[in-house]
Symmetry: C2
Amino acid sequence: MNFEEKVLSTENIFDGKVIKVDKETVELPNGKKAFREIVRHHGAVALIPITDDDKIVMIKQWREPMRKVTLEIPAGKIEPGEESDPLQTAIRELNEETRYEAENIELVTPFYTTPGFSDEEIYLYHASGLKPVSTELPQDDDEFLELVELTLPEAMSAMKEGLVCDSKTIMGLLFWQLMQ
Amino acid sequence: MNFEEKVLSTENIFDGKVIKVDKETVELPNGKKAFREIVRHHGAVALIPITDDDKIVMIKQWREPMRKVTLEIPAGKIEPGEESDPLQTAIRELNEETRYEAENIELVTPFYTTPGFSDEEIYLYHASGLKPVSTELPQDDDEFLELVELTLPEAMSAMKEGLVCDSKTIMGLLFWQLMQ
C-alpha cells in the first residue's frame, strides 16, 4: 500500500521563538487534495536521572499551556549547534535544571511527541552515577523550577494524583519501573 | 514557591481545523514579562486494543509532519459534543479505525502530549474482549490506514526498528508490558 502524501505547496503561518507553523496542501494517495497543519519544533531531550539512593530527580514548574503546576522529568530544547549530538543537550540540561552531572548517560529511545500535528522529537536518556556539578551553567531567566527527588512509589502516586501528567514523564517512569 | 504566570494579553495567530495558535504575554513570578507560544488542541483519545489471542491492534499510516510511515495505536480527536465523555470518542475511534468493538474499555491515564507548547490532552484506554462491529462507522476520507496485529515482542521489535516512534504508542506498549 502506498501511503505517501505529495506536498503541493507550503504556507508559513507563524515563525516563533519555540515553534513554527506551516499549512501544507498535499495530494493524497487517491489523488485528492487535503490540508495539513504542522507545528515545526527544533527537538528536545528529556532525562530519567536516578540518584545513588534510587530516587528520580524531577522538576516542579508552571506550565502556561495548561495553566497548572506539573511535576516532570528534566527536559529542554536542542539549541543551535547541538543538532548532531543531543547527548550534549542532555548533559547541559541536567546541569542547568538539576545541578547534577552523571557518570553514565544512555539513550533509552527517541520519540515523537504528537505525530498528528507536530514534528517535535525528544531524545530520552537514562542518567545514573549522579554527583553535584563543579561548574553551574546559567539558567534561563524565565524558568522558575523547584527540584524534587522521589522514590518510584512516590512518583507513581504523583501520577495517580495528576501532578505527573505529561507523556515524556509517564514514559520515563514506566521505563524506570521496567528497569527494576 | 509561587509559580503562576499572570496572562497580560493573548494574540490569536492561527485558527485552523486541528489547532489554534496563541501568543501570550505573561507576567512571571518575579514581575518580569515573557512571551508564551501555545498550540491549542481539542484533545484526543488513544487505545491499547488487545485481542483474545493477546495481540495489540495497531495502525500503519503516513504522518506528514515527519514525512514517514509509522505504526501507532488507534487514536483520534475528540469531536464537538464528545467533550464530557471521551469514552464515547474511544468507542467511535475503535470502530472507525479497527472495526472492533470492546467488551471492556478502561481508562489507563489521561496525559498531556507536550506541555512545553501545547494544551493537547489524550485519554489513553485499554480495550479487551474485542469482536467485529455489527455496524461500521464511516471513516475520514483523508485517512489511509493499514491494520496490523502484533504480539508484545513483535511490537517491541517495531519500536527498536523505529516504526513505532510516538509517545502515546510507546506508553501504550509499556503499560501493556506492565500488565503482563
